[in-house]
């Protein structure tokens, strides 16, 4: 197990456990993927699928009792999951920027946004106070804050939700990171503002050459933003492939069920397709393929053996339908 040559971020066999009195709960199980430099990888799934925990595990922000129980995380050819806290802290912010869902809780209400930006810049880059402030102003202008000179000394509560999220993006990009992990960056925003923020995130990351790991439950946001997409279900990646293929020709029955259950604005259907049941709780993940009790195509093997990722067209899917012997017959 080691990094793939050329990959910016490699996650191999990542497993996140929570110790409970009843034994460990496995929230993320054997998750592997790579992100190439400058690439946008979408991670999509329903609540409880483990997508946010995957993100927090990568940046070493898991809260106890959660812990990485197995697997490796490599950034730029260097293993980072076993680094001591003070070293991972240097990577966080410097090499990996973060954008969280709620812009109000990711900004400190007691400091002006200028203070927060210059603090971040000075922590990671040696320069004078005046130069850092100049850079903070440039960043604010870049993320589309009107009149940055007038706004830099304002407090977060004086900004609207969309403007706050712009500030958070400026903070994430402050130290020129190579990767930005954006966890539901637009979920708390209205749809008209959402489009602005997604466009901004895409543009600024491209200009700074940063790759993006975009975690969201919104397939629409993934469709217009991501290059590749990983679909997660019950703690595992069930399908991984180019965004066109995953959306247009979903291979895993869960992905196709998920796509069919999304109401579309572009056409009318008398009835939505629905996936029966709901995602299992972590305490009761079914044996074999975790999706088999809800799967319309499940057969005997699905309840018995757990499928690994296998080639399925241009994508990869963790589904026995694509086992070489099934495909042949």
């Amino acid at each position: 197990m080691s990094a793939v040559a050329g990959a910016l971020l490699s996650v191999r066999g990542l497993r996140v456990e929570f110790a409970t009195r009843a034994g460990p709960l496995v929230a993320v199980d054997d998750v592997s993927f790579d992100i190439a430099p400058g690439e946008v990888l979408g991670v999509v799934g329903e609540s409880g699928a483990g997508k946010s925990l995957t993100g927090t595990a990568i940046i070493g922000l898991l809260d106890p009792p959660g812990r990485i129980a197995a697997g490796e995380v490599w950034l730029e050819g260097r293993r980072i999951d076993n680094l001591p806290p003070e070293q991972i802290r240097k990577i966080r912010g410097r090499r990996i920027g973060m954008v969280f869902q709620d812009p109000l809780t990711s900004l400190d209400p007691l400091y002006t946004i200028g203070e927060q930006l210059t603090e971040t810049i000075l922590t990671h880059m040696p320069m004078s106070q005046a130069k850092a402030r100049r850079r903070a102003l440039d960043l604010l202008a870049e993320v589309g804050i009107p009149a940055p000179e007038a706004r830099i000394d304002a407090y977060p509560h004086q900004f609207s939700g969309g403007m706050r999220q712009r500030v958070v993006i400026a903070l994430a990009l402050a130290a020129e990171p190579v990767l930005v992990i954006a966890d539901e960056p637009t979920t708390a925003l209205d749809v008209s503002v959402q489009a602005q923020i997604i466009t901004l995130l895409k543009r600024t990351c491209r200009e700074h050459g940063a790759a993006v790991m975009l975690i969201t439950h919104d397939m629409g946001v993934i469709a217009e933003t991501a290059d590749r997409v990983a679909v997660m279900y019950a703690g595992r990646v069930v399908e991984l492939g180019p965004v066109h293929d995953v959306i247009g020709h979903a291979r895993h029955p869960y992905t196709s069920g998920l796509m069919a259950s999304i109401p579309l604005i572009s056409h009318e259907a008398p009835r939505l397709q629905q996936i029966e049941g709901s995602m299992p709780r972590l305490t009761a993940i079914p044996p074999g393929c975790a999706f088999h009790p809800r799967c319309p195509k499940a057969f005997e093997r699905c309840g018995r053996e757990r499928p690994d990722m296998m080639a399925a067209g241009t994508s990869r899917a963790a589904c026995w339908l694509y086992a070489p012997e099934v495909v042949r017959s």
Binding site: H217, V243, R271
Partner: protein, 331 residues
């Protein structure tokens, strides 16, 4: 449409007093300030249809719903339920129309009492309206309702925390159906749910509408969900209705510039790689809304008249639009 509408709303208005405390106002010489949550909203809902209100947060759609449900009093205007003015009647469950309407809320985690068993939760409206007092009869009715929403009658004895989000919303629906209402106000009923569960709940709501002939007021910020559910749609912006139209027409030929931009701003999974057209700017503060048409600072078609004069709704085929540019035939 010749039939009398079940719900008629006329000039509905609600202001909230958001002034600072009296002493602060005197010391700081501040005037009273009011938030105009809903201003002069008029629409009607025909029996058996689903009327949807869409808009971004803070546009007043939930305030309209709460006024219709009688949870807050309007500052002005009239609500007629089946011809009878219900704004004159005070709050409280004794008003005769109250047993004919029910409400489903957004968050199924917050709208079920965690200390009550599911059976008691569903039976409460039956008891509150005195529709039955025989224990066996109530129990039978609760079991029926659980079957209607596709849960197990044995779930009666469980507590809400034993259910997933989607199952809880089914319990909320069963409770809403228990006093056999004709009109159900659904305030973002699926916003807290995952998409695969959302599909189940939306399908269930449509089935129930067919089965019991229900009329829905459906509030949502999600245009795709609204398209799926609604017969007619009202688009709200800063406390006002800017466009009302039959659902199909609203999506195929939106008239108001705000509706057009809102439709363009929705991400669609069929448009991979294409960028959405973003609306510039954000929703202004409702305490100090822009003069004239509230949308004019963000509107690409705004001209002088929009900045000074509030547009009145004008009839279009099947609906109405409040926009000077549409009224003058410029767009």
């Amino acid at each position: 449409m010749s039939e009398r509408p079940l719900i008629e709303v006329e000039g509905l208005t609600r202001y909230f007093d958001v002034s600072k405390p009296l002493l602060n106002r005197i010391v700081e010489r501040l005037p009273k300030s009011t938030l105009r949550a809903v201003h002069q909203v008029s629409f009607s809902i025909v029996r058996g249809e689903t009327f949807a209100l869409v808009g971004e947060s803070g546009c007043g759609k939930s305030t309209v719903a709460r006024m219709l449900a009688g949870l807050i009093r309007p500052s002005g205007g009239a609500i007629r339920f089946d011809g009878a003015d219900v704004t004159a009647v005070g709050s409280g469950g004794r008003a005769p129309h109250r047993r004919r309407l029910q409400m489903i809320f957004q968050d199924p985690y917050a709208s079920l009492n965690p200390r009550w068993r599911v059976g008691d939760i569903i039976a409460e409206p039956i008891l509150a309206f005195g529709l039955a007092d025989d224990k066996a009869e109530i129990e039978e009715r609760v079991s029926d309702l659980l079957r209607v929403v596709k849960l197990d009658p044995a779930d009666r004895a469980k507590f809400p925390h034993e259910f997933s989000g989607g199952q809880r919303q089914r319990i909320c629906i069963a409770r809403a159906l228990s006093n056999k209402p004709e009109f159900i106000i659904c305030d973002e009923p699926t916003s807290a749910l995952d998409v695969s569960v959302q599909a189940q709940i939306l399908n269930l709501m449509r089935d129930l509408q067919d089965e019991f002939g229900l009329t829905y007021l459906f509030i949502s910020h999600n245009l795709a969900v609204v398209r799926h559910m609604a017969t007619r749609i009202g688009v709200m912006y800063l406390g006002k209705l800017c466009e009302v139209a039959p659902a199909r027409q609203l999506f195929s030929a939106p008239r108001h510039p705000y509706t057009r931009l809102l439709l363009d701003a929705v991400p669609d999974i069929s448009m991979t790689g294409k960028a959405r057209r973003a609306i510039t700017g954000e929703v202004p503060n409702p305490i100090d809304p822009p003069k004239g048409c509230a949308f004019h600072p963000r509107c690409p078609h705004a001209f002088d008249r929009c900045r000074s004069e509030t547009p009145a709704p004008v009839a279009t085929d099947g609906g109405e639009v409040a926009c000077h540019a549409v009224a003058e035939g410029r767009i």
